[in-house]
Subunit: 352 residues, 4 copies
């Protein structure tokens, strides 16, 4: 079943991204959830909240754990999320003696949000690297073509002559600013979510903060004063960043499509898409896809902002909406960066 | 790879829909495209545009056709769409003698848009039936609980007592109107898209209209005066309809979530979701999912309207944006109707 | 204070519309609300719900009514809407004897929604006429320039030659379909909203339906089975229609901007905007504004769909959101139609 | 004419903001534009680009300048923006001798973007102060009610008891993060836009950078390496920030509306809205408005991201879209902060 282009056997090659999609594969998702449970049991044992033997049993169960996904799917449809069913299977795997120590003091949202954070850390690393490569490619383009005399266009009309450098920098500089913005964002995304039933770690009593501190270190995530289950500003801000990146790349794509129009010819494309009806055409497909991905993210970012209106200590409705939007936005951004890097290597400015 | 909840091995059971997703599976998509090509060659042979022997060869090749999907994926990434690669493989399967008669006079958009229309006809049939079942379920609920005295709430505050009938009808009547709206929409969605390179069927000369007429009959689609490659109002209108349906169901979901709050208790849920931290809870998961799906479609509908700004005779950017949004909106609507039907069967109004 | 371009002393000439804005002026709004109250008291007197003398006193007070707008503004800030303060002032004007008969059995939403319906009827009339004029202008353009040979463009590249007729029809035909859609919509917008506190007309007992019937006739609105206070599908559908219209005009604007590019020159503009830096330029300002207005409505339509998730019998939050969006969308659509009509008169196709 | 609630004589008291709207009044807008022109002529005279006498004449003309707004409106409708008409009137006021030195080397976008920046600096100052006051109010609430035992709610169901402190902090902490984010944003908003016709200051030759440096100092704005006419990331990022703020306040509003429901009564409202039909009600109008304003901005932010796809050196279409959205988003945010401050002072937590 392939409702989304990102999961589509054919279209994912155009609009998706293999490396990023990997992070959202079921295996990666369950692994990240189990990493949370492993860190939890270890931290709790170290703090004397659960017996060391229990932690040992849980770790061993996790190592050999093979979830019954058909059952998980069924439970998810009932519970609205994967965790209750997953914890129940994990408890069965651990055995009756230590079952009650599995997931002790945690709540589903701790697991889901932390498991996402672990994977977004990876995504942000990839973004940083890819932005760097696009910036480098644009630097290279400027070095080669920057002095080429071209026409500036304002309001869709030829304005005055400029050099290509002017255009190239207007594509590159926003990316450099986005890279700087990412550093600021990162700290709020790469956090441990751990609050228990109502965000107060009430099940752990005075040991809560110490357990949380150990978990954060084990998972390589930032420790925050309390769980942000219902404070979704980091998610909204991250979604906005994704859409800023695709928006800036969409501007570059739009420019390239306009400048490589048959009559304008200010940019030459070394490669392009073929047509089933007109074999002579070289379509600026990659440039168009940058526009498409920009408008896709510009559309979805709105929903992520609606999801800020999160009722009380946990909103099933608003939280689930994030799941429907954020992975797609993340992959769309990766696809845009991947496409942009290739595209920049395929264009050259043509002297007027 | 499962970036979208609709394609996710676990979450699709909650937020997806097996029956609808089937229509967007690669097999269904390629089949629909090949139905277009089959109808095209037959119609062209009947009108003497291509030899009957060519049509025969093409039909036979289609019957036994097994596409090389790895190659298709690669070509799609270059061309921006599946058709050029698909036609090229089909031509190879047909053989050199008749290859030039494959896809003759058609363009990629004819194939993609018609293949979608063929599948949306099926989707709309399913929608009509499911709306009917939700309406019936609400009628049954009204029969059983309609006279129960409950509280009306305005602006989140208790207002005056009413009977449950008042609430039930406010959920049901919009669905009945949506069903009526669907009939009007259907005629503009269930159309043959056939215009050739620039929407003028120029490759077929005077035979264009006759070929188009035959194709429409063969495919069970409406014939329109000219291809609407760049006129996307039907798609936008259909997307709006989808979001109206999920919006109305979202209102019902929101009401049910509010009325089944612990302190309100105006509605009792026979079933609900479990919590990993609080085993005593019965969460109104289905009601929440209706809200989520409503906000999802309310978000995406915006992008479908942006896609109306379609440049010239074909916009790669705007058209591709539709592919990213419309299948998801369609499946979200199906999921909401499926969920609503079950949910209505699980609620009962509790006398004040 | 001019936060919105539609109310801006200068920009409203570019992006606003005097005729439509008139319908949203305070005077028109209060007049429509008072028409509701007048029809209400008359109908109630005719049905014996209130004394004829009371109706007489109310009508007379309405005729000479001059609201204290400073007080109204203050009350509105507290109550969240204009009606409680307005009714209170009207009651004072009517005098103690009949004050209790003012607004009897009605609720604020009855007044606000009906007052909007009365003005949208006018807006829809204007839309119908203006669409007609744009269609006529395009017919005229086709008559004059339809046979001009021009280039078709697909995916931003020259494709094959066509006649201008092909382009003109792709702009005109969607407008004709929108006009047909408007007829279907109209019936659900031009309705009397009258439900009382909780939508059941409970204050009027058995006389409710008869009073409602008389009011609908007096106001020239359709009578519906029960008030649709919380069923906002008509509003959502209407918003979608507005955005379909601006989207189709935005496509025309985008095409004109592309075809009148300096190097393309397929369309010549008889008039355009001037530049403060480059006196030689003729900017396709009207064409650009059509794109802007299309994207504006495509953005706002999303919020109207979110407003479908209307809690219980009345949602202050969702309902107020409609007020923030629908008038602007309506005026944006009027501005687009006004601009399109002028623009079509200013373009001519240039033989290749 | 009052199409927007922000300019509406009555609704602006509910949803608008007098202090902020002031910044978007025509007078403030023209003043800011004239400040740009004054700084420009002074800097150019100091660098010897224009004669000191010309600068003197321009400064004097600006001081006594009274624009013909009827003419400005007309010119704006033609040119798509205010500047060409304004410059033309200013030149007339300066007189023939120095007219050519007015606006020398600048372009319309320099004026419009810088004039907005000057006013947004003021808006951001107000935001910082207001966020501080809301944070203080929440601190006060925590001091007074923080230990009150209340119920936590997850997925719309009672979960476990917590203290009110937990809820109050989940409202306050995001605001503190938004305040920190504002500091980072500010530097990219408070910039001088000065690039001339195509963003290269080509009219000023080697004097360009020195003139720009002087202007930035005179106007108290940051100097950037080149004009960002077509790089709209700062605008998009700022719009996202606005929507994050209203989203976080919307979450607080939603919580307060839920917790003050008749049956829940966890929060008591000292003041609320009246109903025209049910005098006994105290409606949580301010809480609802926070939700409305959140969804309004969450809707509009999408359009600001679409505006990132800015064609070439200047896009009339994308740029104008910003004008339709950003002032409204700014005022909506101000209204939400104003409302939140009052609302926090009106609520108290009620022991369970």
């Amino acid at each position: 079943m392939t409702v989304s282009v990102f999961d589509h056997p054919l279209l994912a090659g155009l609009l998706g991204d293999d490396e990023l999609a990997e992070l959202f594969a079921l295996r990666a998702e369950l692994d990240a959830m189990l990493r949370f449970e492993a860190a939890l049991c270890e931290a709790e044992a170290e703090e004397g909240v659960i017996p060391e033997a229990a932690a040992h049993a849980i770790r061993r169960a996790i190592e050999g754990f093979r979830p019954d996904t058909a059952k998980l799917r069924e439970d998810t449809a009932r519970d609205g999320l994967v965790v209750p069913g997953l914890v129940s299977q994990l408890r069965a795997a651990v055995g009756a003696e230590h079952a009650a120590h599995v997931h002790f003091g945690a709540t589903s949202q701790d697991v889901v949000d932390t498991a996402l954070a672990l994977r977004l850390v990876g995504a942000m690393e990839i973004f940083r690297a890819r932005i760097g490569r696009v910036v480098d490619a644009l630097d290279g383009l400027e070095k080669r073509d920057g002095n080429t005399g071209v026409m500036a266009y304002t309001r869709m009309q030829a304005a005055i002559p400029v050099t290509a450098e002017r255009k190239i920098r207007s594509w590159r500089d926003p990316l450099m600013r986005h890279r700087a913005r990412l550093e600021a964002l990162r700290g709020h995304i790469a956090v441990l979510h751990f609050g228990g039933a109502a965000g107060t770690l009430d099940g752990l009593g005075p040991k809560g903060p110490a357990v949380a501190g150990r978990m954060a270190r084990k998972l390589g995530l930032n420790l925050v004063a309390h769980a942000r289950h219902s404070e979704r500003d980091a998610q909204g801000d991250y979604a906005g960043w994704l859409s800023l990146v695709t928006g800036s790349l969409g501007k570059m794509g739009q420019d390239i499509a306009l400048l490589s129009q048959s009559e304008v010819g200010e940019i030459r494309l070394a490669a392009g898409g073929g047509s089933s009806a007109m074999p002579h055409k070289v379509n600026p497909v990659k440039a168009e896809m940058l526009v498409t991905l920009a408008r896709f993210n510009a559309t979805l970012v709105s929903g992520m902002h609606h999801a800020l209106v999160h009722e009380n200590e946990r909103s099933g409705a608003a939280w689930t909406l994030e799941w429907m939007l954020l992975p797609q936005m993340t992959v769309a951004t990766a696809a845009a960066l991947r496409t942009a890097e290739v595209l920049v290597g395929e264009i050259s400015f043509v002297p007027a």
